[in-house]
Amino acid sequence: MNHIFPTPGTPRDACLLRALRDLFSARGADGLRAASLALDACRTMFGCSRSTRGAPPCAPSGPLSGLDTIDTPDHWRTTEYAFNRLFVGPMAVPAPPYASAWLETEPRLMGEAAMDVRNLYHSLGYAVPDEGATPDDHLSFELDAALALLALREAANAAPPSSAPEPSPSTLATDTQEAWRWLVAEHMGAWVPRFVQHALAEPDVPPAIARALAMLLCWQEDAAAACSTASIEETITGMQGRQDA
């Protein structure tokens, strides 16, 4: 029985994930610029899947849409200040980019959500640098893990199908899909939308950051929806399989 999990737009996903990861882990203007340009390049290369489906585009419309035409050091410096005001500090930030800050009943870091993703990273054979000192659930690490799972899914799907009559529950493909579904749909789905909404609601969000936030939400929602579609198909296929056997 062939169980092919749909992986539409994987190169696009990988492009987005990489750029978003780099953007949200940027330490300064240079990093923001590089990641932002990379993100724009993803859109140029792959288009926006939503626009092809008739859904609203990934980026906010109006003067903020389109690629960044201002590429001066000043512009990126301003973007850097705004980035820090929104996500880093030293003042209290309106949109802390950590899952625990959104998933605990009282906002905090190093909550259960951080332990959850730490376990996921460990199962991949990875950990955040300076584990214990570094909150595991920073958005950039979660995006990095998603990138890893994406690659694993690709590898799993490329492998020849098992010759056994029924797949064992612990095939790499199944595990990877389940991990991906948990991370992207359940875990990130629980906090990323609110994080993005809060950030976008702040005054004076620079275009590069607004676009990145919109694309992050866009990607997460599409990927989560695709998981749901995949699980429907999986269930149907599984039922068919049992009927056939």
Partner: protein, 763 residues
């Protein structure tokens, strides 16, 4: 097809992407909201609500100590799982902590893991602009090092570098910040203390040292006067001894202009005129004298100058006069004085608020005299309790560093740089010294400093913009500074006015050792977790600065470049500390805090005073030589310069500007209020929760009013605290008027924080 951002595609199951909560957090939310109790299920039955059984073995347990400026310095037991502090408890081994913390202490995990915590070194492009950039530690320290070398080049010395530091973190190794300054050369220090200096000097004049009984012996007292202190809020662990004394028949008298929570728990509550405490004490002393209840043996054999004091009382003090000054009825003064003098033993707890007046030191001397003449000094359950430093005899290894060869500095008389300055003696002998500026007049001193001016300010364990006086003046003073570095955990007003902020460790993230200035327990503080984000401890910051200084200019800083906080904690211990605590090694403290073994719970039990005469000095020539009176004479208070008294005491929910910003504390204390008596409110046409202006020549604040009977009719009360979301500070209203004493033992006079006046009007 979906037609709006966030709506699910058709055909997808009900798990919508915009559904914000996971199963687990949904349940948690339901439980937290109490909604489970009200669900209308008819067939389903509730699952048992018992929590998962607690298994201690799941946790790593560490010993910590609260390093805040608080009487209680709690010994903490910290529970860590997966490298995360889950919760804290009070250590059961300390009879003082007795297994419990306080409302602020229990909130510590909120502090460590607050999303608001400063994570990285950051630079503000344009002070006050709000435009911050993240930099690496190396970049930050290099920037600072270059600036220091620049000013050293310009001025020929480092007097342009100033340190402002006080009690934000009392972990002993944090004196390494002073050490860092010394290791750079001779620098400028904001010296003194805003807290308790007048009383310290007073007790030194009278007794030769500030040295209180073990607070745990208060339960043996037969009469307890709590004078200008509010332990129900500010030393909650002491209350059990007060209650124990009362259970055994003691009377509890609380003296405070405000009907505090402590006063509400007393048997007698006196609300005297603010600042009249000296007169009140002298009035009581006069009555004790008249009744012949003086301890003749003590005043003859263990004291000097009593007859002169008695003559002063007879000629200058009457109970009626004291009643007029204080507003306490004369017969009440007589009654309490007689009860105090006949109860054996009797004690007075002298609060720090009580001496924050222009006549604070004189008032403490008068209260000391009352305790001494009734024979209560050196008695278990007795004494004039103020504070002590008996358990602070560490090596101060972190603090004592040598200036680089060839350093030049201030030439002039050098006094102590504060009450904890162990280097005072050595400094007196050096050719050069640090330049001392009065910490209680920080704004004025920064404005006035010349040759050289203060160019760089290093702020650690202190929040000058929240705590220093005359905020408007401080703004002007900061404008003169070329570089401001603050070492912090949260974005305070000081950080807002800084150029560089460096993230510092919390108590759970460093090794140190802690003593108390009230009780006699010493606690180990183990490192329980890795420093979060990029936080470093104060001594690690010093080491990194040294590395950069020496890279740019070899020999410019003598501070060791390799620091391990555990090693430096170990270096603080010495034979004296081990003997005092009755331990053989600091490792013993891992099992729990240890208590100093004193010959008696009473200080001065051997009646060998440390005064020049070796006796209790009712007449202190030393005091007179310092510009005060030899006897504990009455000193006038400050003249009012506005219609109402302004009191700015401490809140239960903060230690100055710490804790107030945590969400748990904000539950209790969401915004500042000015508390007014109904009579005052009526006179001003102010209703409860009206927005009002409180104003005086120093500045103004806008806040809402609350009407209460606990505040006297001529007072405005605003708790001093920092509010995260508001641009508010009482320091807009508090000027830097000096208290009478403090220079002798702490390097600068105190400040008359409670001798402030203001007016109020509807906004």
């Amino acid at each position: 097809m979906s037609d709006s951002l966030g709506a699910p595609s058709r055909g997808a199951p009900s798990r919508t992407p915009s559904y914000a909560m996971t199963r687990r957090s949904f349940l948690k939310g339901l439980i937290a909201s109490g909604a489970l109790a009200t669900l209308p299920c008819g067939l389903l039955t509730p699952r048992s609500a018992s929590a998962a059984p607690f298994n201690k073995a799941d946790f790593q347990i560490f010993r910590n100590a609260c390093p805040r400026n608080c009487y209680d310095t709690c010994s903490i037991v910290t529970y860590v799982k997966d490298g995360v502090v889950r919760f804290v408890e009070g250590a059961p081994e300390s009879t003082f902590t007795a297994g419990g913390l306080c409302v602020k202490g229990y909130a510590y995990p909120r502090r460590v893991y607050s999303p608001d915590r400063i994570k990285y070194p950051m630079v503000q492009d344009g002070r006050g602009s709000g435009n911050w950039r993240r930099v690496s530690w190396d970049e930050a320290m290099e920037r600072i090092a270059r600036k220091l070398l620049e000013i050293k080049e310009k001025d020929g010395n480092l007097l342009g570098l100033a340190l402002t530091k006080y009690s934000g973190n009392f972990g002993i190794t944090n004196y390494g910040v002073e050490g860092m300054m010394s290791s750079l050369g001779y620098t400028t220090r904001l010296v003194g203390t805003p807290c308790w200096p007048a009383g310290i000097d007073a007790q030194n004049y009278d007794l030769g040292d500030m040295w209180c009984n073990d607070p745990e012996d208060m339960e043996k007292s037969r009469y307890v006067i709590i004078w200008g202190a509010n332990p129900a809020w500010c030393s909650v662990h002491s209350m059990k001894y007060v209650y124990a004394a009362r259970d055994r028949g003691a009377k509890i008298v609380v003296i405070d202009p405000v009907l505090t929570q402590t006063a509400a728990k007393g048997d007698v509550a006196w609300q005297p005129e603010t600042g009249s405490d000296g007169a009140l004490a002298l009035g009581m002393a006069r009555h004790v004298l008249d009744l012949g209840l003086v301890d003749r043996d003590f005043v003859a054999n263990n004291a000097v100058g009593f007859e002169e004091f008695a003559a002063y009382l007879r000629n200058n003090v009457t109970v009626d006069w004291a009643a007029e000054k204080s507003g306490i009825p004369a017969d009440e003064i007589r009654r309490v004085a007689e009860e105090f003098a006949t109860a054996k033993p009797a004690t007075i707890w002298i609060g720090y608020g009580m001496q924050r007046h222009v006549n604070g030191g004189a008032a403490v001397r008068a209260i000391d005299a009352l305790v001494a003449m009734t024979g209560n000094v050196g008695k278990v359950g007795g004494g004039a309790r103020y504070g002590h430093l008996q358990t602070w005899g560490f090596n101060y290894h972190a603090m004592i560093q040598k200036a680089p060869a060839g350093s030049t500095g201030f030439v002039g008389k050098a006094g102590p740089k504060g009450e904890f300055d162990v280097t005072a003696g050595a400094a007196a002998a050096a050719a050069y010294t640090d330049r001392a500026l009065n910490i209680n007049k920080t704004a004025q001193e920064l404005l006035d400093a010349q040759n050289p001016p203060v160019r760089v300010l290093w702020s650690s364990c202190k929040n000058p913009f929240a705590q220093d006086f005359d905020r408007n003046k401080l703004e002007k003073a900061f404008n003169k500074l070329e570089m401001v570095v603050s070492v912090e955990q949260f974005f305070t007003e000081t950080v807002r006015h800084s150029d560089i902020v460096l993230p510092v460790t919390t108590l759970f993230e460093e090794w140190t050792v802690n003593a108390s200035y009230w009780h006699y327990w010493v606690s180990l503080n183990e490192q329980a977790i890795a420093p979060l984000h990029e936080a470093k401890s104060n001594i690690e910051i010093a080491a990194l600065l040294s590395k950069h200084m020496n890279r740019l200019s070899p020999g410019s800083c003598t501070y060791p470049q390799d620091i391990d906080t555990k090693e430096w904690m170990e270096k603080e211990f010495n034979k004296g500390v081990y003997e005092l605590l009755g331990i053989s090694h600091w490792q013993d403290l891992r099992k729990g805090p240890a208590k100093a073994k004193m010959p008696s719970s009473a200080s001065w039990s051997d009646r060998k005073f440390k005064t020049p005469s070796g006796k209790y000095e009712f007449r202190s020539d030393l005091c007179a030589s310092h510009g005060h009176k030899a006897l504990p004479e009455y000193k006038e208070g400050r003249k009012a310069y506005a219609p109402y008294r302004l009191l700015t005491p401490h809140s239960k929910f903060a230690i100055h500007s710490q804790f107030a910003n945590l969400d748990w504390m904000e539950e209790f204390q969401k915004e500042p209020f000015v508390y007014l008596n109904p009579a005052l409110a009526k006179a001003k046409g102010i209703a409860d929760l009206d927005t009002v202006r409180v104003f005086n020549p120093t500045g103004e604040v806008k806040l809402r009013a609350k009407i209460t009977n606990t505040v006297p009719g001529d007072c405005l009360l605003v708790y001093e605290a920092w509010f995260r979301k508001l641009d508010f500070n009482v320091q807009n209203l508090v000027d830097d008027e000096s208290a009478d004493m403090g220079a002798y033992k702490t390097g600068a006079p105190g400040v008359a924080i409670h001798d402030q006046f203001a007016d109020v009007a509807r906004a």
